[in-house]
Amino acid sequence: MSAAAHGHDRDELVFHQFEDLPQQRESYIVGMWAFLVTEVMFFGGLFLAYMLYRMKYQPYFFEIHKELNIGLGGLNTVVLLFSSFAMAMAVYSHQMKRKGPTLGWLTVVQICAAAFLFIKLVFEWSHKIHVGHVPWAFQWNEPGVPPEIAKLFFSMYFGMTGLHGVHVLIGMIIIGALQYLIWKDAYSVKDYIPTEMIGLYWHFVDIVWIFLFPLFYLMPQ
């Protein structure tokens, strides 16, 4: 145990409300997990609504889901999974106190995140907006599927992937801030805990997509 535990010679990294570095680290990690619990419940409401409507309208939903591009969704899944690997490597590098690899792996995460959003927005969303699948200007000509059900499906699709996309974007912003701080050798990132916390967040964002992809793209008959 460090001397900081006893109030003398406190570690400069420790905020005044904490006794020592281990306590501060653990508090941050517990806080991040508690935050992720709230995120799970936040997305959970949407998953519940989607689950109910899918149970109710499964045959229609199956027809409608053919509008989605499995190839692009699958590509995005691979991209995000790789970004999670890169994030894990970034956390590991920071734990090993290697600045260069940490920054490098975080850049890989950024590239993957940007690629994900690019594929999502440019190849998927813009096409669907173009053909009129957004709820406020909805058009549907497919016979056999009631347009209001199709609209419900695409509302859920845009709502859930949109909320996920917002989380990816927020992730990019905070990873960018983290990179800047590491690059500047800032005081607050001498410890690897900020990287680990952002890593937890990023894995959560990844996992949400792991659920979204099969729910929307890989629907059974």
């Binding site: 409300q17 508090s27 806080g31 935050f35 936040f42 949407l46 709820p135 419900l152």
Partner: protein, 565 residues
Amino acid sequence: MSATVVTPGEAVQAPEPESSSVNYLNVSHTLRSWLLTGDHKRIAVLYLISVSFFFFLGSIAASLVRIELMSPNGLMMESETYNKMFSAHGIIMIFFFLIPSIPAIFGNFLIPIMIGARDLAFPRLNLASWYMYMVAGVLVLTSFLMGGVESGWTFYTPYSSLTTSQVTLCLIGLFIMGFSSIATGLNFIVTIHKMRAPGMTWDRLPLFVWAHYATSIIIILGTPVVAITLLLVVMERLFDIGVFNPANGGDPVLFQHMFWFYSHPAVYIMVLPGMGVISEVISNFSQKRTFGYHMIAYSSLAIALLGFLVWGHHMFVAGQSMYQGVVFSLLSFVLAVPSAIKVFNWTATIYKGQVRLQTPMVYALGFLGLFLIGGLTGLYLACLATDVHLTATYFIVAHFHYVMVGGAMVAFLGALHYWWPKMFGRMYPDSWGKMSALLVFVGFNLTFFPQFVMGYMGMPRRYHYYYFAPEFQPYHIASTLGSSVLAVGLILPALYLTWSLKYGKKVGPNPWNARGLEWETASPPIPTNFEEIPIVEREAYDFDHGPIDDTWDEESPVRAHEVKR
């Protein structure tokens, strides 16, 4: 004990209450130092001011509703105005008074001190939660000024997604309010888990802290769900997404499920901290160890967990399946058990105690009676058959006011009077306190007991006119009369507490001869709460031995390891 650990004698030397000593209030005086503070005690004071302001607004709305109902044909409002008025009352009181009141003010102020920490784990998040609260308040008040909201505080779809009133802005405000609440809950969970002083085991944790731990669990599990639900209604209004719209294949009852999944546990967010307050007050003013400490602590957790399984009892007549209704009814009855455990334990604590009838204790005794009535009438509503008759009548209005006002608000006032000398270092006149506590009790009962009767006789809630049944008028007049007595009982504390800030008698660290770490530090506490982090060697309700000031003396014969359980 190793040599490096601070001995208890050194650890908790509370500074003498000299007027010149530095405390959290006088450490700096600029507005900037208050608005950018990280100190949990200052943030609690900021919350105290803003929550009181919103409570005042909500009370005005309630008074106008009560005045309007004195006549079967209404007195001064259009029906639409009336709807907006009771909606404003509900929204302000629930989201801006009841939810943040005890946790954000007293929890914020006391939890770090009670567990022997210098601050909450995340001071900046704490401050951010206050700013989110204020932004949410401004948005919601703006929505009221721009025309108001007439959907009630429940925002049931499809009405809330179709009405042209300012629901969108109001819901965005409440969405932000949700994050304020989450920030507070998250901070508490981390703080209680990780920041307890050495020796402050879970078994020694004050019951106030246990109650807030349970509350925080509800907050972080429930609030995000209502946040996404309200967001979906906003999306529905802005983009016509159809999730809750039957015309688009959506299901409006799904809204009720998702709304009550939060909003039923939310009543425990409101009342559990109050129960924590009552545990502290009753134990102290009986000068007796809390009877059944562990049962009270665990019943808080039981309430938090079971609270998530009973939301369907709000929807017995909303078209859910009968079997669902039976299960929800059964679980609601089960939930009465942990609440009853608490009431029995508090009563047993008073038994053979040295009861001192000072203001906080008067409030606590009021809480016991009112919460008992509120809780027992809840069983009428948990019972399927009687609920069909009582749904959407004044009976249910009276029931939840007995729990929310008679429970949570009375506990809030009790907490205010109990910890006021700790927060500001000055005592208010006790006789005035007792008198207004009595006025609150009498006024409250006069307001809401007649509502049980007329609700049972069939008076529907939220109705503007009741000329179809003028026989209810005497009850309404009694109720309005009671609300004016209640108003006097609420205005008085505002006056004498403000007076006491300047003219009240100065008090030492422990004016109530209470136990617990918060009474060992100065009143008002120093900015870091303690000179040194204390070593806790006793439980929070150790009344079997002399007051702390003596026992912590190095020479004292009573040491922690001798405490008998």
